[in-house]
Symmetry: D2
Subunit: 349 residues, 4 copies
């Protein structure tokens, strides 16, 4: 931590800061410049936070130097992690060696639609099925999901297709029931900072797919992951899904740089959701190609047998030629960037 004094700070002001820091067992190194003095702090960061150094007389600014997260950082865990999704005997990896293709309908509407979407996804090469039973919607008048009935449909479809299931949970009170059915819990963009939900997911014993808040910095996102990990659950996969910017041509702006930035900082796997980022079907395939090429550990896309009748996000769901193009990209591009299809690495024991 570095404390920057204002140009008119007095020697007493500097001494007061040093005294405070030493009072909690830290060391303070003073660098006296022509215009300003800066003080480098060494010791336990947490104890410094409680000093409220920014409120002290003569202090202009305080810069944090170290990362505020610990469990998700590569600092003490340099090797990138693999998270395994699925029941014992059929676990699909998401991690640095493989490329994992996740697909399915935005919302579970009926057993038929879900099964059909799952079959389309599997044919295209998907190894994990996505599908929402609990939907967080901006409007209280929009379709809110089938709830537990939807979870049962997902379980049936898993039996029929063998695909492990990732599904969203939107309320801490629903975590136990969702964890009973799902292979992986998804925490959506609107709930990234719902700390009670993060902690409940951390306690669930299931892997968690944590979407980036549409207006969260990468650091805030990693702090949200830290909430989950703190409960003893390190099986967290991050998902970049676009951030809010001034550009109206796409629903959100896919922050493709977040993939290598996260991989440089955290050991957690990271995948990309091009469907929700763009909100436009015609961009899903090119953005998926970009995600693979930049080095993402997987993609997650919306697939629907009949987008015209979809109850949620129809305009971005793939089918037909688009889905075949995506399937082809998911076959051809990963090997060029040194990745193996997750299907080949499934853990069966």
């Amino acid at each position: 931590m570095v404390v920057v004094m204002s140009p008119d700070a007095t020697d007493e002001d500097v001494a007061h800061v040093v005294e405070k820091v030493e009072g909690v067992g830290g060391e303070a190194f003073v660098s006296k410049g022509v215009v300003r003095t800066i003080i480098g702090l060494v010791g336990d960061i947490e104890s410094f936070h409680h000093l409220n150094l920014r409120t002290l007389k003569g202090v202009a600014d305080v810069h944090r130097i170290s990362d505020p997260y610990k469990l998700v950082s590569r600092q003490h865990h340099p090797d990138r992690s693999t998270v395994w999704v699925g029941p014992a005997g059929h676990q699909v990896p998401i991690g640095p060696d493989s490329f994992t293709f996740i697909a399915g309908p935005c919302a579970v509407e009926t057993a038929e639609q879900t099964l059909e979407a799952a079959r389309m996804s599997k044919s295209a090469g998907a190894t994990i099925l996505r599908g929402g039973a609990f939907k967080p919607r901006t409007s209280p008048y929009a379709f809110q999901g089938l709830g537990v009935a939807g979870l049962e449909i997902l379980a049936d479809v898993r039996r029929a297709t063998g695909l492990p299931i990732v599904t969203e949970v939107v309320d801490a009170r629903d975590v136990p029931v969702v964890a009973e059915y799902a292979d992986m819990l998804q925490i959506g963009t609107r709930n990234m900072a719902n700390f009670g939900l993060l902690q409940a997911a951390g306690d669930s014993g299931k892997p968690v797919l944590l979407k980036r808040g549409m207006t969260a910095t990468i650091e805030e996102w990693l702090m949200a992951a830290e909430y989950i990990c703190q409960r003893g659950n390190l099986d967290v996969v991050l998902c970049e899904r676009g951030i809010r910017t001034f550009e109206p041509a796409t629903r959100n702006t896919l922050d493709i740089s977040a993939v290598p930035v996260v991989q440089a900082t955290s050991h957690l796997p990271i995948i990309v959701d091009p469907s929700h980022a763009a909100g436009r079907k015609d961009l899903v395939v090119p953005l998926s190609r970009a995600a693979i090429a930049v080095g993402a550990d997987g993609v997650i896309v919306d697939v629907h047998p009949d987008p015209e009748t979809a109850l949620c996000d129809g305009p971005q769901a793939l089918l037909g030629k688009d889905l075949r193009d995506l399937a082809q990209a998911c076959r051809k591009l990963p090997p060029v960037v040194g990745r193996v299809d997750a299907a080949e690495l499934v853990r069966t024991s």
Copy 2:
């Protein structure tokens, strides 16, 4: 609703849209331009949503024309509302005729600190006390609040000072206990889209202070208020607290325009939180003056007897001269813009 066809849409494409719209009982008015055709839809908007018009062949875009919210809109409720906060016999108004000054510590830390902050606030002219017992924190390593013990301190301080209390609730499971102690529930910026929490607050029977999500559009914010109102609770006060932008000089950018924009659209009262918007003590007084002058129905500010030792947001808490300056602004400016101090309108029966 307006459907814009793409330049290469065929007559069949247009006919298909018209047919779909008429199929759910709507009317479609076709305007055939030189380059494009546009179709105006008249009828029940909700039924049109389910048509997924954006997925139909030949459709380039769909523009919604009406507001998506109903209960919070001025359309059927043209007069602006007043929300009354406090126990029977001492209810403080927040609404179009008055100016309400809310102050208190960011977090309840001890009985002494809270009482002292409440007395400072009351002396400065505040008529409602704020104070957090449950704190949502970006870092799992930060102080998370005293919980129920904090609520008890707040209740004691209410007895001692007579100030009604607004306090944050961060988890739907805590709503009953918080509603038992508090006069008004606050939903914070990170939880604006936590729909389960919104609904629980709507069911609580207490007025709700709904902060704007730091990256929420005004429309999304009003939709969040609609979630609360839908449960039969129209006692919602909105609070502008800054939005996330590229400007680093302030923690967030106070969107002062949101006040007149909201007042033109919704009947709900709206207040401003300059402390959390700026994150800088030196801006709280000028921004409070701006809030009063723009026509806000109140302000809410952080006050702390000893910012150096504050466990939360010390750098923005006021005391001493700053607080006196604020008190003066809250006395002198409201009358110039046609407002009466809420203290003069307290409902005692």
Copy 3:
């Protein structure tokens, strides 16, 4: 300046940085932490920039501590400045003691329209006339202004009304002719980083009104002002006019906090343009009130005798009751915040 080493930096890496810094005459103070080492640099900042410290092995980050601007800073010029606008014998102040109301049409269209708008503005209390002869337009198909013919109309209207004139210049090649006619040159939001234009304006001998780039940070804006001041022209007035954010309800988001932030950092006067910020007539009066109350040194608004026929920005131009409301706010609010109407401080000798 502070150099933060990465956790895996070696002692040689640290020594290399120290050596480089000392090589250009600086001093380096090393603070060795448990996880990281930080190095505080003291000496001539410019010489450190050329070292490209960020490219050195083991360096994780470099934080600048001092402000990058000099001439516009309050550091060596603590008193806030007043800029005088107008010909000898009738100079209107813009500065810390007064409140200056500037009004006029967005674009000069005809002699009649300009004179009428000027008379409306003067009646409402304006002391400086704005009006565009050269217009920067996003579309090459939009009205681009009357050019020199517009400048002549402005000069005629100045003779008729006595109001000094501020008008925009969009190309460095036009600076001499605009400076011949105008009392103050305006540099618009799209040209804030047009460095050739800034320098030409600095050489013109006229005061300059520098609008904030709609996506410029306050620091970048002050750096743009520094370009003008560097040519020996310190008569620069800053104008906050809204920044680009995700909120669509207003054309731009008025960053009202920029006023006190700039005043804390720079001695230059700062005014607010609520018309271009909001792009909506109904917000101009409340935002002007907010600007006065926050402590702005003036406001600049669009006025047009017939907004329906305006060739530029008609939807935001005031007339009738709105203009009377604004006139009233400009009379009543400044005294409450300790300001005198600029009209009372005009320098006649």
Copy 4:
């Protein structure tokens, strides 16, 4: 164009709009809804703009439906264009069939440094050399480029290496001299809305590389290209270089989606600059891979023989292993997405 009336608009208000539209030869189709009336306009858009419909009584909003640009649109020019860069006898294509790798130093500093960077770039597979002689800098105290001496160095290096040259021009007054030396003029992000410069570049007879303004929407960027095309110069290549967002981990956020969005809308080629987007050397290679995979027509990257001594943007310049990795990506990925190396399509006659 669609005019949306407010809920309280009267029949007279609607009739007034219709009358205005018909007065300029347009047709107005009225759709009367339960709550609101909407009016579809058919005819010459430009004539409607002058009506200032938004200022008319009862009008709530006006939606533009057609694209505001013409010459750059695919509407009347459905095939994507190829722009040829270089002297007769050695012209390098940038367009839909090829992939063009452009590299070189951010700034021309010395003849040796430029020649060395050009040789490194050529060895890595680059077919066009970039290098700045005129530099727009945020700080007036930073290195501003060598000017004409730099252009002479570039011409020498072209002779030595055979690489055509793209270099920035920052002032309309410099266009003739830059066009004399360069094969392609670059207009930088800060000048995207410098309309005088755009027009001068349009008149220069040379191809133009138009970078996106760091805060420009895609529509504004295409309008800027329209300014150039309007002067009869259709040889414009667009360059996505990152937009300003709230995310601090990268200097700007690379908007990778802009590539397919532009390609769907405009026939102009589009390339990507990952160096300036990220501002971090470690992201240049992954972002270049993403750019190729998403379907960009080329990339442009910073290369420097000695980043430690670079006078401009050293932290993002590649050399050594990074450059070899980039060279490999530029060889292996384009064929996978159906592209041929531009080197194989050079036009020699």
